[in-house]
């Protein structure tokens, strides 16, 4: 992976890369020159042609999303930037915000120009205190240098960006939950339709994009969709910041084009599995179905390969587990998390997540039989795809994949198999 130019992380090791001076010295805001010679529709077409996919987890084509905004409503159009990075196992946006806040601003300018928006909100996870400081500093600098505000660089285009600090709920990372939270309400996802592109923030057309999605746009504008599409694979063009955590010798994140074999990534960058052989991988944040070591053999880092393996690309940050991992306890961690983070609005999610958690607790306490395992699967079926947002599915998918692929880890806790009752789980 030698011959590619980092797009997203190139300033991570540049001194003062997060300041306007450092940013401009390394080619910052260059894309704007070209941007302002284009028509907004041309920008959308360019991004469409690049086949850039949303990095937030769902992988929806960004250009297509932008084209959904109705331009004739007479209402303002908003861009909301989802910087509420909270998916367990995912930790790359925080570095983007910290090391290169101006790149995000440049991406926002490109996106707002394309969708004809003059106001953007960056919704940042409340815990990212330093990142919020850096973002605000960057916005101040950019305003002073006329990269934001009225008539940006003489283009006639106006844009204001505001940073909104979240209060720490996972569900506010869901796009409509984020909008509710931005409006000052509890972060409860909205029922769709209407979709936010039509009725979004404050009832106006709104586009919600992830941090890395927007950070990819300036490069596309500057270098063209063709150059971007040439990177990575056909279905997954461009580069991404991939992360590894869990039982690896070297945890961290690395930018590279899509398409690298997963095992190469794990062994060359993560320096191999720590403490034993590979047992399981959650490939893109905790809500993606788990993969066994065997399934990872021919896995590549791309949307299409993940899909072919019955899981999702998600956020591109893998959680690695070695052979000594007790998958039942891993799942308990997830059921606890999702039952705690459910907004409580839809019945199947509110009741289902808590039911799964209690069932698993019963199993781990050695009080359950095979009946409970089957019930967990059935409850998962009743949760998936039956709610307003996907949080319910985000637990149902791990439950089903864990129980299917690692049933033995659960069966050893069942009443007839338990020799000594293990420590009580709370």
């Amino acid at each position: 992976m030698a011959d590619f130019e980092p797009q997203l992380t190139k300033r991570f090791n540049v001194k003062d890369g997060h300041t306007l001076k450092g940013y401009l010295a390394t080619g910052g805001y260059e894309s704007l020159k070209k941007l302002f010679t284009m028509k907004p529709t041309e920008v959308i077409e360019e991004v469409k042609a690049s086949n850039l996919k949303g990095r937030g987890g769902a992988g929806f084509p960004t250009g297509m999303k932008w084209s959904f905004v109705p331009q004739n409503t007479g209402k303002p159009i908003y861009l909301a930037v989802n910087a509420d990075e909270g998916e367990p196992g995912t930790f790359t946006d925080r570095y983007m915000l910290f090391n290169d806040p101006h790149l995000l601003l440049e991406g926002i300018i490109c996106a707002c120009f394309a969708i004809n928006s003059h106001t953007a909100y960056i919704y940042v996870r409340g815990e990212f205190y330093e990142q919020i400081q850096r973002l605000n500093a960057a916005i101040d600098e950019a305003k002073k240098a006329n990269y934001l505000g009225k008539n940006i660089q003489g283009s006639g285009f106006d844009l204001e960006i505001y940073v909104h600090r979240g209060a720490g709920a996972y569900i506010c990372g869901e796009e409509t939950g984020l909008l509710e939270s931005l409006e000052g309400k509890p972060g409860k996802p909205r029922i769709k339709p209407p979709f936010p592109a039509v009725v979004g923030l404050f009832g106006c057309p709104t586009i919600i994009n992830n941090v890395k999605t927007l950070c990819s746009v300036p490069w596309i504008i500057a270098n063209g969709a063709k150059a971007y599409a040439a990177l990575g694979t056909q279905e997954s063009p461009g580069t991404h910041v991939f992360g590894l955590s869990g039982h690896v010798n070297q945890t961290g994140y690395w930018e590279m084009p899509f398409g690298m074999p997963f095992m190469d990534f794990l062994n060359n960058y993560g320096k191999g599995v720590k403490g034993g052989k590979l047992k399981a991988v959650i490939p893109g944040g905790s809500s993606c179905p788990v993969l066994t070591a065997q399934e990872c053999e021919d896995l590549t880092l791309s949307y299409e390969s993940m899909k072919a393996h019955g899981t999702m690309f998600g956020t591109g940050c893998g959680i690695i587990m070695n052979e000594h991992t007790d998958m039942a306890k891993v799942l308990k961690n997830l059921t606890h998390f999702y039952s705690h983070e459910s907004c409580g609005q839809c019945t199947p999610c509110r009741e289902g997540t808590a039911w799964e958690d209690r069932l698993l607790k019963k199993i781990l306490n050695g009080e359950a039989t095979a009946k409970e395992l089957d019930l967990m699967l059935e409850v998962a079926d009743n949760m998936e795809g039956k709610t307003i947002c996907v949080l319910s599915s985000a637990l149902a998918m791990p439950v089903r994949s864990f129980l299917k692929k690692f049933r033995g880890d659960f069966e050893k806790y069942l009443v007839k198999n338990t020799v000594a009752v293990p420590e009580k789980v709370q």
Partner: protein, 548 residues
């Protein structure tokens, strides 16, 4: 209109209707908790799951938030749809306290009813129950909250947000710990608070006035119209063995939707307390036949011009009609008026109007003088020996003025529902029926003719309708043309004579009333400035589909 197919049944529904509404208004059963047709869609209970055929395969979704489209094919009974509906009910019941034996909602609880329809399985929650706590919290003048029974449908929250716009309620906490609560320091005391208990699909919100008073399955329900103000909200009288336990709003899409104010709702006790009980002639309690006989004898010797009639906007249209007819045929119609000295009450832009009588428009319709200045002036001079006072209470409203006006009258003949000050002054008193105990009609402030039906017979057979009493008197006086058998027959005779009522019969009046052409409205339409109808309604559907 859009042509759609639900479970193989082809139907036409208005454009913009949602699938759930389309199903319910066409007699297709589809269960739901959070949907209330006069409140915005929340889509959170996930029980109205349907399968909709599409080009990319069938889609499982909620009916309430899916608008119909031409040619849409919907399945509510497919295995996938049934499984989703069933599992949603199971989840709603998961941590429910199942205290039905002591819950006032039992018998009209959606959770109970739907369990009978979709459940009947063995409980599968063999893990510890999650206790929400919050048992019987006093949250308002009329309202008790049981958080542990709540299914978090948010109907009550949407109601207080949308209709009275007072927003006292909210959900606190997240996930399975979420519960409905009032904001700290706030009480649920708005003028429409009782409605939250009607729309609560379970027993989480109950009325203090109804708690532990009566099991709902003993209640007999009668279509009626609220007597409390000139809005005339549609309601049902719910009683058992002649005791009224509650008034419940009855759906009328063109008038009160499914709402009514607390003032009207809790007025039920007024109609069963302090009632005028016995026929009184002079100082003695006698029976009705004797009283009428004595009155007829008295009237025989008095010149017709010395008899005046005082009617009231609280009387039914039929009472007023018979009184007018009696004065036309036997006495002098110029000596009949309806001065009613009440003070206007409070009004708002939701339902309440300032006029707190139910039938002032009815007086207008029949040409009554509602001021009676001339008549009262002559009364004061002592031109009248006998006054027939029907449902009016001048001594209660303004005793000094009444004494001045009526002081020279020889005999006040009082027809009254309640034991009033005017009753005390009466030379003869005849207790009559409330609107609950009789059939009849009112015309409301927006000129809507509305019918109310008799809920029960009063215990005392001498307590009869004013219209029938007047007919008895007419017959005793041997005046022709008063051979009415009951109130509906009075209405039918009246409809033949009164232009605005032509073509109507008592039983052909729609249960939601009919607006009378040619009678000007005297009040604003209800819900001014309030978006109380966020959903496109399907075909008219009365009763269960909307209320609970």
């Amino acid at each position: 209109m859009a042509k759609i197919t639900i479970d193989g049944k082809v139907m036409e529904v208005p454009d913009g209707t949602n699938v759930l509404e389309a199903a319910l208004s066409n007699d297709v059963k589809l269960e739901h908790f959070c949907y209330q047709r006069y409140l915005p869609v929340a889509g959170n209970c996930r029980t109205c799951m349907v399968e909709i055929e599409g080009p990319k395969g069938n889609m499982l979704t909620v009916g309430c938030n899916t608008k119909v489209a031409e040619g849409m094919v919907i399945h509510t009974l497919s295995p996938k749809a049934k499984a989703a509906q069933k599992s949603a009910i199971e989840m709603l019941l998961l941590d429910h306290p199942l205290d039905c034996p002591v819950c006032d909602k039992a018998g009209e609880c959606k959770l109970q009813n739907q369990y009978m329809e979709y459940g009947l399985y063995d409980a599968r929650r063999d893990v510890p129950r999650y206790f929400k706590g919050g048992k019987a919290e006093d949250i308002g003048e009329h309202i008790m909250l049981d958080q542990e029974r709540c299914v978090l449908c948010t109907r009550c929250i949407r109601f207080v947000d949308e209709v009275p716009k007072t927003s006292e309620l909210a959900i606190v906490n997240r996930g399975h710990e979420a519960k409905i609560d009032i904001f700290p320091g706030v009480r649920l005391d708005n003028a429409y608070s009782g409605n939250v208990t009607d729309i609560c699909p379970v027993g989480a919100l109950t009325l203090k006035e109804f708690r532990f008073k009566q099991r709902v399955w003993f209640l007999k329900k009668t279509e009626s119209v609220c007597h409390g103000c000139a809005r005339g909200c549609n309601m049902t009288v719910e009683q058992n063995k002649g005791h009224i336990y509650r008034f419940m709003p009855r759906e009328n899409p063109e008038l009160n939707k499914t709402w009514m104010c607390d003032e009207g709702r809790f007025s039920f006790d007024h109609y069963q307390t302090n009632r005028a009980a016995e026929v009184r002639v002079g100082k003695e309690n006698r029976n009705l036949a004797y009283g009428i006989d004595q009155l007829a004898k008295l009237l025989q010797d008095i010149p017709a011009d010395q008899v005046a009639g005082i009617a009231s906007p609280t009387a039914a249209l039929e009472d007023l009609y018979v009184m007018k007819k009696l004065f036309e045929k036997r006495f002098n119609p110029k000596n009949l008026a309806a001065p009613f000295w009440d003070k206007p009450g409070d009004a708002d832009n939701v339902l309440k109007v300032a006029d707190k009588t139910p039938n002032r428009q009815g007086l207008k319709l029949l040409g009554f003088d509602t001021e009676g200045k001339d008549l009262l002036a002559r009364m004061e001079k002592g031109e009248f020996k006998i006054v027939l006072m029907m449902h009016n209470n001048p001594f209660g409203h303004d005793e000094a003025l009444a004494q001045k006006v009526y002081g020279k009258v020889n005999a006040l003949i009082v027809l009254s529902v309640h034991q009033t000050k005017t009753v005390e002054k009466g030379a003869m008193v005849f207790p009559v029926r409330t609107f609950i105990e009789k059939n009849g009609t009112f015309v409301n402030a927006t000129s809507r003719l509305q019918r109310f039906r008799q809920a029960f017979e009063p215990e005392n057979p001498d307590v009869i309708e004013s219209s029938m009493w007047l007919a008895c008197l007419a017959n005793a006086l041997k005046v022709e043309g008063f051979d009415y058998v009951d109130t509906p027959s009075v209405f039918n005779a009246m409809a033949k004579e009164v232009e605005a009522l032509k073509g109507l019969t008592f039983n052909s009046i729609p249960s939601t009333g009919v607006v009378l052409a040619g009678l000007a409205s005297v009040a604003e339409e209800p819900f001014k400035g309030i978006k109380a109808q966020p959903n496109v309604l399907g075909k008219k559907c009365e009763g269960e589909c909307s209320k609970a």
